[in-house]
Assembly symmetry: C2
Homo-oligomer: 233 residues x 2
């Protein structure tokens, strides 16, 4: 962890209801949660967990006690430790219902959840740091093959998302309806990641339209990697 956190114990019983996010500026899963927290208007502290420095601070014992998966993000709310970005977003939505991150009806909720999971289950985990490290170290794949891998899974997922978001009559400015949902919390970080890895996102005009609507909102802008305290100057 960076200096401010390293001097304080990471695990402490907090009797108040402070929200503390264990985050990394460029992590797409942490970015989702930051968007959710911002959309809800919740104040939170950040403990940066650097995914590369010190052999990966997510592997430090102080952090793996909180998160045995060695993955970020984790969110501490009082004494409670929350893990997995989608589960955290659901928790935020249940605990602070307004503004809602899911539609009110079961059919709409299922559609939004499916869009979010198309990213959070079927794109991002395949392109995660630990997977790229495995491709490089264990499978001796050169960086061109790693890039092709990443592009393959992103294009596969984006193509399906483009089809579904273009088809839905309830799509307005956002993935589904006139306000951002769980799906938008996932889409924007995934498109950020895509650009970082030079994916041609121009193939997905509907997704770019949604992204533009999202980034016009302060909640999304403030959650962006470059705005985080641990982003390089």
């Amino acid at each position: 962890m960076l200096a401010p956190a390293a001097t304080a114990p990471i695990i402490q019983a907090m009797s108040d209801h402070t929200l503390t996010l264990y985050s990394y500026w460029r992590s797409s899963a942490a970015y989702r949660v930051r968007i959710g927290l911002n959309l809800k208007g919740l104040a939170y502290a950040q403990v940066p967990v650097h995914l590369v420095q010190d052999g990966g601070q997510q592997h430090a014992a102080a952090y793996t006690t909180l998160n045995p998966q060695h993955l970020i993000p984790s969110l501490q709310h009082g004494d409670l430790i929350l893990r997995q970005s989608l589960a955290i977003l659901d928790y935020l939505d249940e605990t602070w219902p307004q503004p809602a991150l899911l539609p009110a009806d079961a059919a709409g909720r299922a559609h939004v959840r499916a869009l979010a999971q198309m990213i959070a289950c079927d794109i991002h985990p395949l392109n995660n740091l630990r997977v790229m490290q495995y491709l490089g170290r264990e499978l001796a794949q050169p960086s061109a093959a790693q890039d092709a891998w990443m592009q393959h899974w992103m294009h596969t997922g984006f193509a399906a998302l483009e089809t579904l978001t273009a088809r839905t009559s309830r799509s307005a400015g956002f993935c589904f309806g006139p306000a951002p949902t769980l799906a938008d919390c996932c889409l924007v970080p995934q498109l950020y990641n895509a650009r970082r890895f030079k994916i041609d996102v121009g193939r997905y005009p509907r997704l770019l339209e949604i992204e533009a609507a999202c980034l016009a909102l302060p909640a999304f802008h403030a959650a962006a990697p470059e705005q985080q305290p641990d982003a390089p100057a």
Copy 2:
């Protein structure tokens, strides 16, 4: 699709509220949904989608119209098409609340969702058929390397699940509390998959205890791959 489905149009407006599951007997994601449907006591029809025959029936146009990800399962409920196993389970839980697949409190729900996502986001998508095909075809990895890949991600995930399920004071017979939840719907198929790929599951005594409690229930037993209409004789 197999014979009964191939003779009927796959997409049809159903004005009743029939439940139809597009499934494959050995798919771990379809297995999750079958457990959920059975726990709710819901009757459903199955349309088998063979993942290998005909170059993979999940790639047939009739199916990709339903599911642009070319993935199973999909669940049709009346006119509604549902995708992504976790989103489908949430839909079932919202539409038929009893017996509940999630605890009543937000903290318990977040914990159960995180356990489910540790499997559905961070184990299974890495070991999915399409990923193994990519490792073999595009990256020319021999089967020993594919097995090592699969074992690596399963052991990584199971170790974290063992830690969390052993730690929780609310764990009883199941992943969390005295009744099966979303997490159990994911765990049992993942352990089935682990045995199929010769993973040493003996390292995870707590997970095996949970699995035994689940498999003692008819809902889990009836959802097992070997019990499905498309399982080989």
